[in-house]
């Protein structure tokens, strides 16, 4: 569906893209993750033809995106930040957006009601978009993008600031659209969402470092992850243990990353006891995409 | 004080970085002055004139010469019928038509009143008023000449000589340059201050400032002081151009002018802050600024003399700060008068400032809603 070859775009210090190659097949859900300023937004904008690349090319259904005026309604794009009309109400925005894609009123109405209902926005239908909170605005943008249902959906951080429950509902909708044949390309800062993509492309410093399915990524992860529940308040003590590559907060526990080749569990447990660190629970766990992310982004200057 | 300084410094940094606005602040006085000074002439000369002379006599020629010599009429076309005169005026080729009847010369000699018809295209009132006035005047003078020569008196009984003071040559630029200074200050102060504050509201930085201990008046002072400086820079540029390009003589004291200007600046700032209180977006602020700006141009005496205005309009003009400032700046620059003649105007501006600033400060709350 989308073929990206040797794509480059130079900017100032952030958001540049270097020689990216990526192929997206029909009916794929592909997620782009990476540190802030890695170039995710720039890449997505080039896919939509909003930024002209310096080198290389993007082909969407065999055509350059800025040459596909006729097929424009086959490509839907939702920008990262709110870009609808603050002085129109929620439903006026949806109607306007839908009619740009020449949908009839009834279709717009039906689709919108369904999505607004699922994301609990239906009660705010007649509110001016300006008076919505950040997360609600995001839901509105999402609704607009989903109402039009083009063949390819490009979504830039679609769930920015959206609450966890609505995010789950939103993903159900994405999956359903995907079943109906839509191809979806999105970026996300949420690792649990990355897990739901069929393929994840990890971007860093303008380059794609790794592309694979989440399962394969976890499989290929070359370290062992230990989960520790403890009363300590700071991960520094853990990082000082020899053999520990990284240690960080993860939900209500710590993740300790160690090399694969040793019998780490005993070793770490002994080291913790030695340092009088109370251990409620210590076990080896399967790495999550977030662990993969943290290790890939290790060199990130944050 | 520390807080005011902080806002002040921040504003200066931002203005310095905003090259576009900074450029406009300097270009605006230049462009406006050159436009108004060169292009706009309130006095109309060289009106194209067509003649249908049926008399073809020395007398008709003599009168025609007087028309030409006045400089107001360019007699360039002569035709042979009424129809042609009408056609010329209809088509816009001529603004004025002069028709001498066949018996013109005989009537002059016989001493009976000799009629001359003057047609004026009144669709442009500026031109027609001037043409009518000058034509009447020429007619009067000519008649007088003939009368006096017939009566064989040495001179006419009255000799009224009008001496235009302050601007003897009637140079438009002299009149306009000081006024443009006033217009510039209105524009910059109202527009820039209101936009400056509304921009912070739009961007969300105002919300951040609301949770700080800053007091409304501190914020206002810090935000507006830099614009006062800009206002003075604009006036200076405008006056310099006026003196160097248009040779406007500045008769009064510059120091006095700059001091009295402060009162006008505060009044305009007050208006700007008031606008920023009402407007929620920069778009609205801009429109409101125009809402103030247009009447300022039309009713303050900037372009049209206020004396001729209907009573109601005249009183509305009294509610515009620029009206008073024009008196001040024209007075000082052209007439060389001083503060003692302008007390009334200064007090009016002071009242405006106090009223606008009080309303604004009372209305500005450190709350979103």
């Amino acid at each position: 569906m989308i073929k990206i070859t040797e794509l480059s775009k130079a900017f100032g210090s952030i958001g540049a893209v270097h020689e990216i190659n990526l192929e997206i097949k029909k009916q794929e859900i592909i997620g782009i993750v990476g540190p802030d300023g890695a170039g995710k937004t720039t890449l997505l904008r080039m896919v939509c033809g909003l930024i002209t690349p310096d080198h290389g090319q993007v082909l969407v259904m065999g055509k350059a995106p800025d040459r596909m005026e006729e097929e424009k309604d086959k490509l839907g794009y939702m920008p990262q930040r709110f870009s609808l009309y603050g002085d129109l109400t929620v439903s006026e925005n949806i109607n306007f957006f839908g009619s740009l894609y020449s949908l009839d009123k009834k279709t717009i109405q039906d689709r919108a009601d369904e999505i607004l209902g699922l994301t609990n926005l239906i009660a705010f239908k007649n509110r001016l978009a300006d008076n919505l909170s950040g997360g609600m605005k995001q839901k509105l943008s999402l609704t607009c993008a989903l109402v039009t249902r083009p063949d390819i959906l490009v979504l830039d951080e679609p769930t920015y600031g959206v609450d966890p429950e609505s995010r789950k509902e939103f993903w159900k909708i994405l999956y359903r659209l995907n079943k109906e044949g839509k191809t979806i390309l999105l970026s996300t800062p949420y690792m649990d969402e990355a897990e739901l993509c069929m393929k994840v492309a990890f971007m860093d410093n303008g380059r794609i470092v790794s592309v694979d399915s989440p399962a394969n990524m976890r499989e290929k992860f070359s370290y062992t992850v230990l989960e520790l529940k403890s009363s300590i308040k700071n991960s520094h003590v853990l990082r000082d243990i020899p053999g520990v590559i990284d240690a960080y907060f993860y939900g209500d526990s710590y993740h300790i990353v160690t090399p694969k080749d040793r019998d780490n569990l005993q070793f770490i447990e002994a080291a913790l006891n030695e340092r009088n660190i109370e251990v409620f629970k210590l076990e080896e766990i399967a790495p999550s995409i977030e662990d993969v992310f943290v290790s890939l982004a290790e060199k990130e200057v944050v | 004080m520390r807080r005011i300084m902080a806002v002040l410094y921040k504003e200066f940094l931002q203005i310095r970085r905003d090259r576009m606005t900074l450029g406009l602040i300097f270009m605006l006085p230049l462009v406006q002055l050159l436009l108004f000074g060169f292009a706009i002439q309130t006095e109309v000369k060289h009106i194209s004139t067509v003649v249908f002379d049926q008399s073809l006599s020395a007398d008709s020629r003599d009168l025609l010469e007087s028309f030409s010599a006045s400089g107001y009429f360019d007699v360039t076309m002569a035709v042979n019928s009424y129809d042609e005169v009408t056609r010329m005026i209809d088509s816009g080729k001529a603004k004025v038509g002069i028709v001498f009847p066949p018996d013109f010369s005989e009537n002059v000699r016989r001493g009976t009143s000799a009629a001359v018809q003057v047609f004026v295209d009144a669709s442009d009132s500026m031109v027609s008023n001037q043409a009518i006035a000058v034509a009447n005047f020429i007619g009067m003078i000519k008649s007088q000449e003939i009368l006096t020569s017939k009566l064989r008196v040495g001179a006419a009984p009255y000799d009224i000589r009008v001496r235009p003071w302050y601007n003897p040559d009637g140079v438009t630029a002299y009149y306009m340059v000081p006024a443009i200074c006033g217009i510039l200050v209105t524009l910059s102060m109202v527009m820039l201050t209101s936009m400056g504050i509304v921009r912070e509201r739009e961007r969300g930085t105002l919300e951040q400032l609301m949770v700080t201990p800053i007091k409304p008046y501190e914020l206002m002072l810090g935000k507006t002081l830099p614009y006062i400086v800009l206002g003075y820079i604009q006036i200076t540029v405008a006056l310099l151009v006026g003196v160097l390009v248009f040779h406007v003589p500045i008769k009064g004291s510059i120091l006095e002018l700059y001091i009295l200007t402060l009162f006008f600046i505060t009044a305009s700032l007050g208006l700007g802050i008031l606008v920023s209180n009402i407007a929620k977006t920069q778009m609205q602020a801009m429109q409101l600024a125009y809402f103030i700006f247009l009447p300022s141009i039309l009713l303050s005496g900037f372009m049209f003399p206020r004396d001729g205005m209907p009573k109601l309009i005249y009183y509305i003009g009294n509610l515009i700060p620029l009206t008073y400032y024009l008196d001040i700046i024209r007075g000082i620059v052209l007439k060389g008068i001083g503060f003692s003649y302008l007390i009334g105007q200064v007090i009016s501006l002071l009242v405006f400032s106090v009223v606008f600033l009080t309303i604004s400060t009372l209305k500005f709350k450190k709350k979103i809603a």
Partner: protein, 299 residues
Amino acid sequence: MEDIIVTHDLTRSFGKFVAVSKLNLNIRCGEIYGFLGPNGAGKSTAIRMLCGILQPTSGTAQVLGYDLLNETEKIKRKIGYMSQKFSLYDDLSVEENLEFYAGVYEVPLKESKSRVAEMIEMANLTGREKEVVANLSGGWKQRLALGCAIISRPSLVFLDEPTSGVSPTSRRMFFNIIQGLANNGVTVMVTTHFMDEAERCNRIAFISGGRLMATDTPDNLKKNIIRGYLVELAVPDALEQVGRIEALPYVSECNIHGPLLHVLLEHESNAADLRTVTGVEPKMITPSLEDVFVTLAKS
């Protein structure tokens, strides 16, 4: 511990819409207090009221011992606030923004320089002091905004969704900074949609539809809110199975959780039934905060 914020029936409506309804909170000195809830639940409205920039419709509160209705300006001197919308000056540099807020909070001039340096260090902005903010990426901006909010060394800080839209590594760093503040005795009230951040709060308030649904420590919430028997199910195509499993009579809830499903059963014995239906062995788990969130948001 003494309470730094006490609210009594704090209410705010906009026209007919009640954004916050009779909110009663006690926030203790020195704790990280998480504010959770669906979008539009009234979190930002509540925080804006507590900061003194939004007038409550009714009810009252004491913040730092001051009366919220009459002593707002005194409160403003001692708090820091970071709004949801990024609210720094894009056209100023990192240093200039910090200097500006140091001035607005009347940090003595002598101290200003060292305070700015301290904030740059705290927020990990070293090396970017002269960079214009417009050129910074999300995580950097957010940390700078925090620096500006706490340059006056407030004892109470309100952070409204400070970590939305930044990468996982940036978020982690941000929360480490918050933790550091709390360790130094600053009380932090923070709203977030990230459950791992919520876990790091001392206590959490969950609000929905403007009402307080629950407030407690993360551990207690996980123990007390969910009634039933929670299992994890590692089915392939988890997202497509949600509807089918939710429809089972003994399933009270089924939600996607990363690549897994979390299924809330009515009885322990239902686990066997679930295995028969799905062919996958359910694994009994203790609820996570996300489970709690979803349950509370749906009730």
